[in-house]
Symmetry: C2
Subunit: 179 residues, 2 copies
């Protein structure tokens, strides 16, 4: 038996009130908590950066640069890393735009408004294509995820305003976020 | 060998760029991502709800009702659940107050402003004591965590303003949040 192996059983730990995966060989409890997605609405002049997905889910559809936050980074660093990885983009985070809860898939999505430091962009390994589009050029019917659409529309609704409370899930979207 | 057992080795999955725990028997990859703490500055008239911790870390010190978000809930539901569990408090979430990154411990803390629906509070299993205190009565030297102090001071700085961008980590606190 190697040192890395674990032997999990489902049970309720002492003092807890819900089932967790517990190792039977040691005191390790595998707490599974919601994951954080960090991303941004990135602009260059009047254009917006979008990425065509080269991976599942929603391969071939367009989205904003966003992905799972990693250990050891801040939310802003995570959003900047995702823009770098997916679009080879060097971005400057401007402010928090929105925080969405998607309980159905246990995600919290934290979206920023950011701007490109230069218009040099290119598809990273997880993108088939990247481009800068005007508002009228956004391929709404080919967008991968509702939350990317929410972030784009909420950002656009600000009409240039830069001081605002962050947005949350739009009204009437519970059927999209609840199990 | 039971069905629940796993046999982990450390490795870099295909297409990834960092080490993960990977099961050698199946295709399970144990992605470890930052955890979300949800909590709130809860008020009743001019008083603030604080809780004395009955668990480690920082047992015996005071804090705000807050804890790890669970799967299947929204950030607001998580903050309300924590207030219920730690202080038997029924709260109404008013708005997002702050989002903090603590990369050193890979946490994102999402803090709300909330109010009590009634002044009935009592210590839950994770609290030794709970109380409602005025601003001048806050036991600053007996507070458990820097982020609870940040949230209290940032909320107080609003001086009643209710429409504002959320706060982030205060300036000059990198030494507290970085490894």
């Amino acid at each position: 038996m190697s040192r890395e192996s674990a032997d999990f059983k489902i049970g309720i730990p002492d003092g807890d009130d819900r089932e967790r995966r517990m190792c039977q060989r040691c005191d390790f409890i595998d707490y599974v908590n919601p994951k954080i997605v960090v991303g941004s609405v990135v602009t260059w002049e009047d254009k917006i950066l979008i990425c065509k997905r080269a991976i599942e889910p929603r391969l071939g559809f367009w989205t904003l640069p966003a992905g799972f936050m990693e250990n050891g980074e801040s939310i802003e660093e995570g959003a900047a890393r995702e823009a770098r990885e997916e679009a080879c983009a060097n971005i400057e985070i401007e402010r928090l735009l929105a925080v969405y809860s998607i309980p159905r898939i246990s995600q919290v999505q934290i979206m920023f408004k950011a701007k490109l430091r230069s218009p040099d962009i290119a598809a990273g390994p997880e993108s088939q294509d990247v481009k800068l589009v005007t508002w009228d050029e956004i391929p709404w019917k080919e967008m991968a995820f509702p939350s990317a659409v929410w972030a784009l529309k909420q950002w656009h609704s600000l009409n240039g305003e830069t001081v605002h409370p962050p947005f949350g899930n739009p009204e009437g979207t519970d059927h999209m976020t609840r199990g």
